[in-house]
Symmetry: C2
């Protein structure tokens, strides 16, 4: 059994990006510039955006944090987005989700210029991904693909089961794993809340990618020997022994499942750290796309 | 065993559309107007475009056939598309595929205004479909969904196996069947040329949707009793006994498989006739979308 070390790989990727940035600067060009829009004061969102900003610094990107009040009107958020779309100094930007309930997330998402949409959430980018055209891949599935690639895990013809069908993980990773390519070319099944006899699928899987958000859902009885486990779950579970008052738990019952797995991602330290690295990679890409008049 | 009668259902749909058109006209509005761009003289393409145009007449749509020479330059085709995008008299249009080899299909597809893209091939529309937003669904998968709906075939939680992963059938239908909705909510597996032990998937399937293009590929040994069979294959097979010199064959060995199926689409007369009906439906939709300043 080998542990897939997302922390290590994400650091490698950041080093590679840092090198690229130095290259860009040495040619007299400006470093990539990522903006993050944060509405309100949600604790988890603050933490995520904070890490994104500090990761930018780490690799030499410029970053801008746009903090907006919780009660901002939808129309004012839209005009802020229009501003970022037009701002030539900004290569890419993200709008941290979730947004307050009075704002229509779909409308906001559609307002982002697809060429600056480094989260890859705009339908144009999602469609390009599904049609195997060059575009921004959403950071989490992009990170999973990168882990499979760097660990040289065979995916072609393999029985891959994706647990969960969310727009940001389950659906895109199921499409990516099924497309022609390396990694890719898998036989992919998507199981979800409506699936009858879910275990009958996971038991035959060569690769399981779980993005459900239920801690400890995948147990050793549900998997076969030699399975590759990618655990995307990151649920905060109350824990009074922790100084933060909670611990992060994955979808997989790590201690029992690891005995049967050939490869497994831990939580934390698996897919999680990859997400920011791939967001940086998309920002680097957005810079070159804009330059080439994409 | 019940035969799914695509001919009958497509005629029903055309009648419904005809009724809508009369409604539109009675309110003093213009009927929907579909344009079809045909490059070159390919026999099958001529036939397809011909049926589309005559179906428009049948339901009371206006139609325009834009015939362009085989050797047209890419830039001239692009400017023709720009013209159709801007033409307020045209609600929706299609570019008949395949295009001659010297033309970049992807570039052409991206040039079509998504709001007039009644084929649903533009990445923006494909992405909206995958993200479960309101949009144009490509005609063939849209037709399959409509057949399942009108025959009240249960799909929720069912084991659905899609054979083939093309951009115009396999991938979109696999996404649609997996999305929340009726029909939908299936557990979907996509099998393809790289799949190992394909029969192990089809044998457990409650619903098989085959879009492979290999005549007679699905045999009775590969399916379980009670399976629902949707055959999207339409391959021309040479036949000297036919006056046209060929017959149309599906992916499924109909005569043997029908004994085990609960529902089955014939070829011809199953999915085929639905495709044009759903193109008309999209054109009707495009009219209302444009009217609502989509």
């Amino acid at each position: 059994m080998e542990i897939i070390d997302g922390k290590k790989i994400s650091n490698q990727i950041k080093e590679e990006i840092k090198y690229e940035v130095q290259n860009i600067i040495s040619k007299g060009d400006k470093p990539p510039h990522l903006a993050a829009v944060l509405v309100g004061e949600d604790g988890a969102s603050l933490t995520y955006v904070g890490s994104k900003v500090s990761s930018c610094k780490q690799v030499g990107f410029k970053s801008t944090l746009v903090k907006l009040p919780e009660n901002i009107k939808e129309i004012d958020l839209l005009s802020k987005i229009a501003e970022l779309n037009d701002n030539k100094e900004i290569d890419g930007f993200i709008v941290q989700l979730p947004l307050p309930k009075h704002i229509d997330e779909e409308k906001i998402l559609l307002a982002v210029n697809p060429n600056k949409d480094v989260d890859g959430f705009h339908p144009t980018n999602f469609g390009k991904m599904a049609l195997n055209m060059k575009t921004f891949i959403p950071a989490t599935p992009f990170g999973i693909m990168e882990l499979l690639k760097r660990y040289k895990i065979e995916t072609s013809g393999k029985n891959t089961v994706v647990i969960g069908r969310s727009n940001i993980v389950g659906r895109p990773i199921s499409i990516l794993m099924n497309l022609k390519g390396i990694p890719g070319d898998s036989t992919v099944t998507v199981v979800h809340s409506r699936t009858v006899n879910l275990e009958s699928y996971t038991k035959n899987a060569d690769i399981i990618i779980s993005a459900l958000g239920i801690p400890g859902f995948v147990k050793k009885e549900m998997v076969k020997k030699g399975v590759v486990i990618i655990d995307v779950g990151i649920t905060r579970v109350k824990d009074n022994n922790s100084t933060r008052g909670y611990v992060i738990r994955g979808d997989v019952d790590f201690n029992s499942v690891k005995e049967k797995a050939s490869y497994i991602t831990p939580v934390p330290g698996g897919v999680g750290p990859m997400t920011i690295a791939m967001l940086l990679k998309n920002t680097l890409l957005s810079k070159s796309l804009l330059k080439n008049n994409y």
